[in-house]
């Protein structure tokens, strides 16, 4: 519905700018993505020191989405173990993603929402479906609505059709698909991007059946996802290959970047990753070519100043009924003068 945010955006568009036709394109583009806010749920499911790389994976994605604009209040970060303060860490309060300590993804403003033993299948599903107890604080809730683009990143140890949580339980691909369907029926997302970096990760998105879900995985069924960056000083592998190259790709993205999903699909080919990354776009309504990386990884508030008036043409086929109403209303409003 036409809230204050969208109204101000429309107002911003109505100030002057040289060429109305260019502005019409840009205005159309504003409504193309259809989302108004971004959420991220980042989950690391493994504990123990030798699974350092899974925490580093999750923190790398956390770092990227924060850098691109999603605030902590819109990120649910679940880390199953504490690597930064593990007694075995020779560099306490740091989690490195590149060997020789090039990049500390732990930083000094990490907010972990679900930590240690709170990362369970039940808590994860409660976060997704919104069935948290009344006492759960705001930071532990996914308060998304039907205009939210949700990024879900999961990493850990997995197999064909399951992902292991904390060495004691598993979530299956069927459960995950059903949780996403619950989210769709409760209108808890507009579009969703699901990324998984585990062995045989592609099996986790096989069962999705809800609309507007795009999925990426680091390896196909029957393949292992390999680790990367062995660091001798710390004594463990620091990252997994797929997320390492995704991080390198994301480091090039800035909030105004026009890179789209097809570029993300090309990250980490078999020559670098050894496993074959896969993706699934059949449930997604838009063409991945038109989906910006920042639609999911960033929280973009685009502000353009114009001095020209813009008449927005209703386009029933692409915009949908709601936008028709808004544009008609605005046209009337502009035409009636201030």
């Amino acid at each position: 519905e036409a809230g204050p945010g969208s109204l101000s955006r429309c107002l911003a568009y109505l100030t002057s700018f040289p060429s109305p036709s260019v502005w019409q394109d840009q205005a159309e583009q504003l409504f193309k993505s259809g989302h108004t806010n971004n959420w991220a749920v980042l989950v690391c499911t493994s504990r123990f020191w030798f699974n350092y790389r899974h925490v580093a994976n999750t923190l790398s994605v956390y770092r990227s989405v924060k850098r691109l604009g999603i605030p902590d209040s819109h990120i649910v970060l679940m880390l199953a173990d504490d690597m930064a303060c593990n007694p075995r860490n020779p560099k306490p309060a740091t989690v490195f993603s590149h060997k020789n300590m090039e990049l500390n993804v732990y930083g000094d403003d990490v907010e972990v929402d679900y930590r240690s033993y709170e990362v369970t299948v039940e808590n994860f599903l409660r976060v997704l479906t919104g069935r948290v107890p009344p006492s759960a604080p705001r930071s532990k809730r996914l308060l998304s609505d039907d205009r939210s683009n949700v990024l879900i990143y999961m990493t850990g140890h997995g197999g064909n059709g399951f992902l292991k949580f904390q060495d004691s339980e598993e979530i299956t691909n069927v459960e995950l698909a059903d949780a996403f369907e619950q989210m769709w029926q409760k209108r808890r997302y507009h579009e969703m991007l699901f990324i998984i970096d585990t062995c045989q990760g592609a099996s986790m998105y096989e069962r999705f059946y809800s609309p507007n879900v795009m999925a990426l995985a680091s390896s196909q069924v029957g393949e292992d996802s390999l680790s990367h960056q062995p660091d001798l000083a710390i004594g463990v592998h620091l990252m997994d290959r797929y997320t390492f190259y995704v991080l390198e790709f994301l480091e090039e993205i800035h909030p105004a970047s026009q890179a789209n999903m097809n570029d993300l699909f090309q990250v980490c080919p078999k020559s670098l990753c050894v496993s074959t990354p896969g993706h699934r776009t059949d449930l997604f309504q838009r063409n991945p070519q038109n989906v910006l990386i920042t639609d999911f990884f960033g929280s973009v508030r685009k502000v353009e100043l114009t001095t020209e008036t813009v008449s927005l043409k209703p386009d029933l086929s692409s915009m949908g009924y709601r936008y028709l109403y808004l544009t008609l209303f605005l046209n009337n409003w502009v035409a009636s003068g201030e």
Partner: protein, 625 residues
């Protein structure tokens, strides 16, 4: 009717059994022996690998550079030791404190059951000194131990120096998740046992030790170090522990992985690794190493301080530095780096080592034989007493004859007293069994109890008195059959049934004993089986009695011990002359009795209370009248 209920079929089966028995036994024995010899060859061995995921590979950066520091400590230690004449406790405490550890000491004392000639000690008292490095950011719930045994004969000064230097280096690191205990014991194994008993709050060997003031959590793993030279040419690892218990194979795999990483020369049983395992020469070399391990494991002695840790479920190995005439030498820094790497990897452990094998045999450092592959060897051998017992049972029950047949006027099936001539009469057996067991008990108790009496009446020292009493009782047992027969009543069931019943019982007794022994100490079980089983199976009062007697004496437990000593030295390429061998045998007997009293080694009670009575039963069978 069922196969076994029908008397005709039963008779046929029984006859088949009797006909095939000897060939089956021979085939089974040969199968067992060849299976054992084939353990060093490729289909039965596997390459070693680290099973514990938490330890991972050797991915660690060793930065220890304190080799010179270690040698300085070693020189100081030697000087201080010469000054005080025993372990320089005050100097050790001071040095450990200066390095930054929490230092405690523990005194212990033990009066040996009889004087120990090899180490020349009788009333032993000493002090252990240990320092604890607390993990900087973890609760002290788990710990690792680095132990250096120091005794008057082997000072291990360089090992003490390396321990102190490593302690100084480890103290400045922040990545320890477990406490590390640096322990220096006096009178090597006795001190280690005293410390372990006090640490775990038990008293199983009668050691008097003072309580420990400081503890550090459950011990996950321990490494014992013995170095007596400034440079080493190789590091030898010992795994066999008390009663043949072995540490988890992962600890050995870890050591081997670091040997390869640091390019150190590491040996097992003092033998270098053969370069080509697929060839015949390589496999024979592996067989030699395997035989040495079997002999050491069978002896049940703790071949280093690590052997005493195993009883408390602490995985441990002993590393010995060897300085031979090879050209390439490694300094203390190289050894220190290996230890640093091992401890850093053990630091990563989350649980006790349990992923890899606890029962294995090692043809080399990089190859092992697991229990599933070596057990069939003893299975084949124990099949033979079972077969023989079955044959005797059949003969005693006369199951190969039908109820209608008569055996002749002298062998009627129904005896004059109305008793059935079939079956096993057990009452006549009670006497030989009791007497044999009593002799075994005498063999176990009398030598130590009667040493003072013997020393008074004969011009020998206590230790010699013990050994000579042992031998005397052992040989006296050979004269038993002549006296046993006065006690045994006449058997009403036929002339042969007496000795056959006794042999049946003896065979079952032997099979059960050897089976139980081989479960926890395969080497001991196999060694005894391979010698005793054929002689036991062959023994009977008829036939070439003198030959059987010689064979039986040759396979008696004492003779097996003598033989294995010769074999052991032969495999080590240092063969013994007869006189040397006899001396070694006598000292081995004394050591065996001492080990039992001091550490709870089971070889002496097993042989004296279990196998010797069993052997005496066969001796009785042989001389049955």
């Amino acid at each position: 009717m069922g196969l076994l209920l029908d008397s005709h079929r039963r008779r046929a089966l029984a006859r088949l059994l009797l006909r095939l028995n000897t060939p089956l036994c021979v085939v089974s024995y040969l199968a067992g022996v060849f299976w054992f010899l084939g353990l060093a060859f490729s289909p039965l061995t596997q390459n070693t690998y680290i099973s514990e995921n938490a330890m991972g590979s050797t991915m660690v950066e060793e930065q220890f550079e304190g080799g010179e520091h270690a040698l300085n400590f070693a020189r100081d230690f030697t000087a201080q030791r010469r000054k005080t004449g025993s372990l320089p406790v005050a100097w050790l405490e001071r040095t450990m404190r200066s390095v930054g550890l929490e230092v405690y000491s523990q005194s212990f004392s033990r009066t040996l059951p009889f004087p120990d000639e090899t180490h020349e000690r009788y009333m032993v008292s000493g002090t252990n000194v240990y320092g604890i490095l607390r993990a900087p950011r973890a609760a002290s719930t788990e710990s690792l131990v680095l132990v250096v045994p120091s005794s008057p004969e082997t000072l291990n000064a360089q090992a003490v120096g390396l321990l102190l230097s490593l302690a100084a280096y480890f103290r400045s690191q922040i990545y320890w998740a477990k406490d590390i205990i640096f322990l220096v014991t006096e009178h090597d194994l006795l001190g280690t046992e005293a410390w372990l008993e006090a640490y775990h709050d038990v008293n199983i060997t009668g050691m008097q030790s003072s309580a420990l003031q400081g503890r550090a959590g459950a011990i996950q793993a321990a490494v014992a170090l013995e170095l007596n030279s400034d440079v080493v040419t190789s590091l030898d690892v010992a795994v066999e522990g008390l009663n043949g218990q072995l540490p988890n194979l992962d600890l050995l795999n870890l050591f081997h992985a670091f040997c390869q990483k640091e390019a150190l020369l590491c040996t097992l049983q003092g033998k270098l690794q053969h370069s080509d395992w697929a060839s015949l020469g390589g496999s024979l070399h592996g067989l030699q190493t395997l035989m040495l391990m079997v002999l050491r494991q069978a002896s049940g002695r703790p071949h280093g301080p690590h052997g005493l840790f195993l009883r408390y479920h602490v995985e441990a190995i002993t590393l010995r530095g060897i300085n031979s005439f090879r050209q390439y030498k490694y300094d203390m820094t190289a050894v220190g780096k290996t230890l640093e790497g091992m401890f850093r990897k053990l630091n990563n452990l989350l649980e006790r080592l349990h992923q890899s094998y606890f029962f294995y045999l090692l043809p080399s450092l990089s190859r092992f034989v697991s229990i599933g592959l070596y057990m069939p060897a003893i299975g084949f051998l124990l099949f033979i007493p079972g077969l023989k017992a079955l044959e005797l049972w059949v003969k005693l029950n006369k199951a190969d004859f039908g109820p209608e047949e008569q055996l002749g006027p002298n062998h009627s099936l129904v005896q004059p007293f109305g008793q059935d001539a079939r079956g096993v009469a057990l009452t006549p057996l009670v006497a030989p069994v009791l007497i044999s067991q009593a002799t075994g008990l005498a063999l176990y108790l009398l030598p130590v109890m009667g040493q003072h009496v013997a020393a008074q009446h004969f011009p020998v020292a206590e230790a010699e008195a013990v050994v000579l009493t042992l031998l005397a009782i052992y040989v006296a047992g050979l004269a038993l059959p002549h006296s046993t027969h006065r006690v045994v009543s006449s058997t009403p069931r036929g002339p042969d049934s007496g000795w056959m019943a006794l042999k049946l019982v003896a065979l079952l007794y032997l099979a059960i004993q050897l089976g139980c022994i081989s479960l926890f100490n395969f080497s001991l079980g196999f060694l005894l089986a391979v010698t005793m089983v054929p002689a036991a199976a062959l023994t009977q009062p008829s036939g070439p009695r003198f030959l059987y007697a010689v064979l039986l004496v040759l396979v008696s437990p004492g003779a097996t011990l003598l033989g294995s000593l010769f074999l052991w030295r032969e495999l080590q390429e240092a063969p013994l002359t007869l006189a040397e061998g006899w001396q070694l045998f006598l000292s081995a007997l004394a050591q065996g009795v001492l080990d039992h009293h001091l550490y709870g080694a089971l070889l002496f009670p097993l042989l004296s209370l279990g196998l010797y009575p069993c052997w005496l039963l066969f001796w009785n069978v042989l001389f049955w009248k």
